[in-house]
Symmetry: C2
Subunit: 345 residues, 2 copies
């Protein structure tokens, strides 16, 4: 494949929050598209979307939908990926999946292009896009790991409700209005659809994202542990995570503590991060400048600030990492992978 070629691209889950961002990015990036297929569940099929001046009708995703497709971007839930991806792979499609279905599969590269783009060429038809919280964190960890070595990571997240889908945004707004009107909140969506207990997200912080695993950590927390090790290619890095949903619409924030293998100079760390791909350093305490979720919304970058040395441990470093969870955390990372795929990396 070369840069001049045009490709047949499919977006599976075209009507979801991430799917919509993918379509927008394919347009903005002038992705070399011959035909764009927009696929969804039967429920959304028939809707029309305008892409680069052409009207595209959304079709129900079926195995034969992938005939002739070169690259497919999946963001329709793990079950849909599991049902359809093998049919697409059989047809020679390169699949890029936003769900957790294939992430920990040893035959599937788990890719953040700024970190491990070279893994893309090892794919056997499937490339996995990491969990949103993991993606933004590893972008900042990679340059530190390469320069100083990375011993351990202790992260606490402040995650936006958009990560739980459009219904969670609607729910938060509904609850917020209820609280302001002094009416009952009646939680109905968060923390996890399908689980019996619901909690208030308006003016609250919920320390549960995704279901609990048997070890007391949530799946979201275990994703941060396992995916970080896989992407950084080092099982010896200790990672522990606490994942928390807060009443923010777009933009995950993370308080990340790292212990490096070697001592560091804080100014050098700041310069290193500022010169690393995909990162914008916002770190000016004198002028009260640091990354903020509201500032990150709609932007592709990973924003890093509040850089400071642990006063008790010379190799300890605190950081505040913020990024738009629907962009670098999902759609933008997927489109970056697609761009690398057609470049042949």
């Amino acid at each position: 494949m070369s840069n001049q070629t045009l490709y047949n691209v499919a977006v599976v889950g075209a009507t979801g929050a991430v799917g919509e961002q993918i379509i927008k990015l394919l347009d903005q990036r002038n992705f070399p598209i011959k035909e764009l297929k927009l696929l969804s569940s039967a429920r959304s099929a028939g809707k029309k979307v305008v892409f680069q001046g052409r009207e595209i009708t959304i079709e129900e995703a079926k195995p034969e939908s992938f005939d002739g497709v070169n690259v497919a971007l999946f963001s329709a839930g793990g079950d849909i990926t599991k049902q359809l991806a093998s049919h697409a792979i059989e047809r020679g499609v390169v699949c890029i999946d936003n769900t957790s279905a294939y992430r920990m599969d040893p035959n599937t590269p788990l890719v953040v292009p700024e970190v491990n783009a070279e893994k893309i060429k090892e794919h056997k038809g499937m490339i996995a896009n990491p969990n949103c919280s993991t993606t933004q964190m590893v972008v900042a960890l990679k340059p530190l790991m390469d320069r100083y070595g990375l011993k351990r990571v202790i992260v606490s997240t402040y995650q936006a409700v958009s990560g739980a889908g459009a219904s969670a945004i609607t729910e938060m707004i509904r609850q917020t209005k209820a609280v302001l009107a002094d009416e009952p909140v009646n939680p109905d969506v968060l923390p996890v659809g399908g689980l019996p207990v619901k909690h208030q997200i308006a003016f609250n912080a919920i320390p549960q994202i995704d279901k609990f695993t048997d070890n007391g950590y949530t799946f979201e927390e275990m994703k941060m542990v396992n995916e970080t090790k896989k992407i950084l290619g080092d099982e010896s890095i200790d990672v522990t995570a606490t994942c928390v949903r807060i009443p923010v619409v777009y933009g995950h924030s993370e308080s990340v503590y790292v212990e490096l293998e070697q001592d560091f100079d804080l100014k050098e760390v700041t310069e290193l991060l500022a010169n690393s791909p995909g990162i914008t350093v916002v770190d000016d305490p004198a002028n009260q400048q640091y990354p903020l979720a509201t500032d990150s919304a709609g932007k592709p970058d990973v924003f890093v600030g509040r850089l400071r040395r642990d006063l008790g441990h010379t190799r300890g470093l605190n950081m505040w990492i913020v990024s738009d969870n629907l962009l670098k955390g999902a759609a933008w990372n997927a489109v970056q992978i697609a761009e690398q795929v057609i470049k042949g990396v």
Copy 2:
């Protein structure tokens, strides 16, 4: 002093959010009061408050206001404490101060009764009440320290706007309504009154509480570092903190990682904390039960949950600690100290 005696009690900052809670608690606890003096700035003087069926007129706080007073509870800002406390102490008053004015003074005990009540008797007229974030954390750390030894603490906070005063609550509600109405937010109060730059708190997370110190940490973060060591009586414990304001009205949440000196059994840790004073353990992942800010509001306890072992470090423990910042974090801790003072500890 004995339990039968009645005391003359003064509340300085009677019209503030914490002052109001102190007055309510003195009533609820049937504190043995002979005369209650409510003191404030000249601006609020003349207002009337009903206490146990009697109407009390708020007076302007002056040095002579403390004549005949036994115990004074200050929560009117550090400058007011600095101006007035020495006059009160001269008059034999035992002062309990909610501000940071005396906390790190080596001659002033810094007290959380569940942790170091025995320090109260060393007072020289002044007893300091710790920072809200510190108080709730040390209540949970103390039993762990006594049983296993405490090596280091890495904490990230999720702090309620009520910690920045009533004007911050009003501001958050105003901003929230503006966002919902798609109108300009025009931040005006947070993160810090008196500093030039203001940030949006509605649907956001602000990684700045209090001003920045020269080392890149905020004063709030350094309070957590220094006050924790002082209250636990061990300068060798490493503490590092990231303090963040989130859109919650009442209740600070904290993601606390501790490294203990000795290995532990998780079930034993849970039982130890459940049987420790001032703590309610809420930790039932199977039923999605964990501490929540909204549940903590109006309650005196420190709620602890999400207890789990760091999978990479046998001596590492993650916890989620939540408490009402105006109660255990301020008014309730102060009233507990006052109760100990009149008991003669």
